[in-house]
Symmetry: C2
Subunit: 155 residues, 2 copies
């Protein structure tokens, strides 16, 4: 059973609101997603169909166990992809957020895990850990490698 990217986004927002307030209101979802209230209603009906949320008209919404699980998976992917883009690749906050928001829907956990591992792997080099940001940014901008590792590590 696979839901659309759109429904995944709704689920994600419901999870975040639930974490903050213990439940989610239709209006808050609409505001957070910058979408009309009526659009939310339709989405909620769909999510309830899939048994991902508990939804009674005019009542606050909560996640089912299955819904929470899926939401967590999406959030996991989102966070780690965003962190990779921002901290390693040096992409600006908002851009990283935007891109992660799209990638989270078609990247599997396995690929997300690889992004995580890559970050760790790179940072575990002592030369990198120290000054990754500046080092890579310089290299990206003008191709200069300011690391000392090249000359000092023996081949």
């Amino acid at each position: 059973m696979d839901i659309s990217a759109s429904l995944e986004n709704y689920l994600e927002v419901i999870a975040k609101l639930s974490d903050e307030d213990g439940y989610a209101l239709s209006n808050d979802i609409a505001d957070k997603m910058e979408v009309k209230r009526s659009s939310v209603t339709v989405a909620l009906r769909n999510l309830a169909e899939y048994d991902l949320i508990v939804y009674k008209k005019y009542k606050p919404i909560t996640l089912t166990e299955k819904g929470r699980e899926i939401a967590n998976q999406i959030i996991y992917k989102h966070q780690n992809i965003k962190a990779f883009l921002k901290d390693l690749l040096g992409v600006k906050e908002e851009k990283a957020e935007e891109i992660a928001c799209k990638m989270e829907h078609f990247i599997g956990k396995d690929v997300a895990d690889r992004f995580v591992a890559l970050s760790k792997y790179i940072k575990s080099c002592p030369k990198n850990e120290q000054m990754w940001r500046e080092g890579f940014e310089t290299f990206y901008r003008d191709g200069t490698d300011i690391r000392t590792c090249n000359s000092k590590c023996e081949k």
Copy 2:
């Protein structure tokens, strides 16, 4: 002027067919994209509207200058993202292709460039260049770092 992801895909395929044959036929586009012929016709009409292709009914299709330019941008992003996923991250060929096919539509040239730079930057460490694939794959699988660099580079 920004076209949809769907139209970008059509443009990309037309560019590839043009490179091979000098022009593109509606049927070949349909086959390559695994889409019905009628869907192609509609897409072509749209691309012609935007002046990205030269399109006369029942005739072979060619790219305009503007169309070629946009197609090249997409292909650039596609190739480099795919290479990053495959060669650095170790994602399987088909999966990398699939993911690149989606990312190419919402990643800017700047971010694509960062992926390129990252690959170069990592590989320019002599320890990595040699055996990146095995080294990272092992790290991804069981967290073991088989590089010798950690101990041998001075802090």
